[in-house]
Amino acid sequence: MRDHYQLIIIGAGPAGLAAAVTATNHGISCALLDEQASPGGQIYRAIESAPATRAQVLGSEYQQGKTLAEEFRACSVEYFPECKVWSLNSEREVGVLYKDQSKIISADQVLVASGAIERPVPFPGWTLPGVMQAGAGQILFKSAGVIPSDGVVLAGSGPLLLLLAWQYMQVGVEIKAMLDVTPHSNFLSALTKFPRALLAHHYLTKGLIYQRDLKRAGIVSKMAVSNLKAEGNGELQSISYRHLGREHSIETGLLMTHFGVIPDIWLTQAAGCQHRRDSSQQCWRPQHNEWGNTSIDGILIAGDGAGINGVRSAEYAGRLAVLQALFSLGVISQAERNQQSINPRKQMRKERHIRPFLEAYFAIPQNMLATTDKSTIICRCEEITAGEIRAAVDNAHGDSNQVKYLSRCGMGPCQGRQCANAVAHIVADAGGEAISDSSLFRGRPPVAPLTLAQLASLSAENAS
């Protein structure tokens, strides 16, 4: 690993891989840093190693990653797998941990392709063993073919939930129920977005096929479910919910939930990039322009880390951001940048037609984003409840950070990843204020936990 590169790309998902291929075609010095052992990110996880039968279940969209991974392997990027990026600052200095050695490297341009994380939505009982996120279920399936053996209840909202249900069905997992928390009012708000979504009808068709197949298989599917609760003594034993005005309960040892995905903004936050609240996507994302420039010179963002637009769009955004980086580096002219961007930009726009519809249709109800159940644990590291957060706000601790100082919520080993969004929503709700650009916790590095010895190795590295 060198001390300096013209371009550092962080993340080996679709945006990062496409960016690396485009960048090295122009002969610049470029490193790609990724925490996983092989390329693909979350969406194309294990793309090089998944057996054909599993890849088939994972679908054609997944298999498209194969070509991209091959192109990536053939390009001249310096690829550092199993490399933990633990800091990024506004000077484009990147703190990395590679082979148990810390190092700070720098670049003229940094492209953050951090991708998305599942939106954590606390509800009563969500911390019980036996409740897990659907994304984690997908990781187990993609990387190791592991599937639930004793059946599962799926609950939440979003395309991934439907996809996972369909995939599980294909491999014979017993799906006890599909509980969709999307309220009926979402249909109306999504309706106005429907004509544009028709321009990307293949996505709609796929969704309808999944639903049809699940129905044919006789899987119980409930819409507009509310009051979701996980219950059990020390571990999940059952779940309860309300549907059409009646309470129901299902015995299950496994509940997988999914409430959509949100940008992973920890690196851009650490760098001090400005972030905006996106009300349609119900998340915060780094402010950026059509080339992926953030508010900090030389730091670019592409893919779902910039705002959720899906796998195909991420690939095009990665290419566009690299064109901008190449232009900033003086490798290509403005005219060349603009010329080469025409096609990827056109493709990217096409991919995005579906998004406003999906965002409206799968919007998480406000009373789940900011739970009113006071006993629900919000910060699972420090075991802080929604009631404690509301009490702090009532006591004149008016923003997330003050609530954090007082209650310790967000101060545990996950560094607030699990609770930041929920705390922001609850604080705004309790204070009767609108959620804003600055409602989140301020970022606290390191972006990934480091041991004292690993950090200390940085000073040895510097001295050598």
Binding site: S87, N89, S90, E91, G95, S102, I104, G272, N395, A396, H397, G398, D399, Q402, Y405, L406, R408, M411, G412, P413, Q415, R444, P445, P446, P449, L450, T451, L452, A453, L455, A456, S457, L458, S459, A460, N462
Partner: protein, 368 residues
């Protein structure tokens, strides 16, 4: 808005001053450009230290320690204060010699709180310490508190006695009008008979506006905190010849500091962690506690504080104007002093003098 006393800065110093004034029946308002405890007061390491203070600070620090030991009487909360002692470790004879001289000096001033301990007692108190250490200076009554909890307790007590706190209230300018002051802020103009400058890192700008410039430097001190560990060390640890400040909090996390300065963009209020320095700090910690090598650092941060060139604060009536007072520049060791500073300021403002010796902290010391 009209008030008798306007305190600028809702950190611990301003809040403590408001509390003592409110206890004596004064009407005061505390304004802050952000929120109470937003910077140094909310983000410091929480040390309650008499040990190794500047000699001028000793009388104040000793008085403050008495207040901390009875803090519940003052603010109806223990502020999560604990008193397991603070220790300054000697690693060699030269360290030992310097610490012995220090202890003798403090004794000669008539104070007993700092004492030397030898190797045997050191390892009885801190069995986990690396074996090369040979002794220490100790103050057994010292300890730590949780700063934001302390600040909140002080604020709530002050509020219960009639003080008001206004957040998001940034000062644009201060002008003297007759014997009083007109302070124009982002929330309108405040007219007050008396102003008190407790603005921490921003106090230098205010002092300059009050025609009394001081050589204050804003700096951002870094801290890092680890995951929770089983309890293994009681006192707060420092070292004579190394940058070390290390404590295990009530919940098991370790707070590691040691006067390490982050990169600071003061205008933007933006701090960037200097990892090389924190790496050196991590190495120092491992020199004293090698068994901690696999402990994970969960977060690092930096709080913006005002530093004076002589590293002691300004605690003073204005020497340029009537009805103006200053308490700032605590140079990253104000938490312990804060209860007594409130008391001193209330005395200065209401009685015209303080019972404690504050001449060394006069603002006039910079006017040569």
């Amino acid at each position: 808005m009209n008030t008798d006393i306007l305190i600028i800065g809702a950190g611990l110093i301003g809040t403590s001053t408001a509390l003592q004034l409110a206890m004596r029946g004064c009407r005061c308002i505390v304004i802050d450009k952000a929120s109470p405890g937003r910077h140094a007061s909310g983000s410091n390491a929480g040390g309650l230290r008499q040990l190794n203070r500047d000699l001028a600070e000793i009388p104040l620090s000793v008085a403050a320690a008495k207040m901390w030991h009875n803090i519940e009487n003052l603010v109806d909360s223990d502020c999560d204060a604990r008193f397991p002692g603070q220790i300054r470790v000697a690693e060699n004879q030269s360290d030992m010699h310097k610490l012995e001289q220090r202890a003798a000096m403090v004794r000669s001033m008539g104070y007993q709180h700092e004492e030397m301990i030898g190797r045997k007692e050191l390892f009885q108190i801190v069995p986990a310490l690396a074996p090369h250490c040979i002794g220490a200076l100790i103050c057994r009554e010292d300890g730590y508190a949780r700063p934001y909890h302390a600040l909140t307790a002080f604020r709530q007590k002050a509020e219960s006695l009639g003080a008001s706190f206004h957040s998001d209230c940034e000062v644009y300018n201060i002008t003297q009008e007759g014997d009083g002051w007109s302070v124009r802020t982002s929330q309108g103009t405040y007219n007050s008979s008396i102003v008190v400058n407790c603005a921490g890192a921003w106090a230098g700008e205010l002092a300059a506006q009050m025609q009394e410039p001081v050589p204050l430097t804003p700096k951002a001190l870094m801290l890092m905190v680890t995951e929770r560990l089983p309890h293994f060390v009681d006192p707060v640890m420092g070292a004579e010849s190394r940058k070390l400040s290390f404590k295990q909090m009530q919940n098991g996390t370790l707070i590691i500091g040691g006067a390490l300065v982050a990169k600071l963009d003061f205008e933007q209020e933006r701090t960037d962690i200097d990892w090389q320095q924190l790496a050196a700090s991590a190495k120092t910690v491992l020199d004293f506690f090698p068994q901690l090598q696999d402990v994970r650092i969960v977060r690092a941060w930096a709080g913006i504080e005002g530093f004076m060139p002589d590293n002691i604060p300004v605690i003073s009536a204005s020497h340029k104007a009537n009805n103006a007072y200053h308490a700032f520049g605590f140079s990253a060791h104000g938490l312990q002093l804060s209860p007594v500073i409130g008391l001193i300021m209330a005395q200065l403002i209401l009685d015209g003098l303080s019972e404690l010796p504050i001449e060394p902290f006069s603002i006039s010391r910079f006017n040569h």
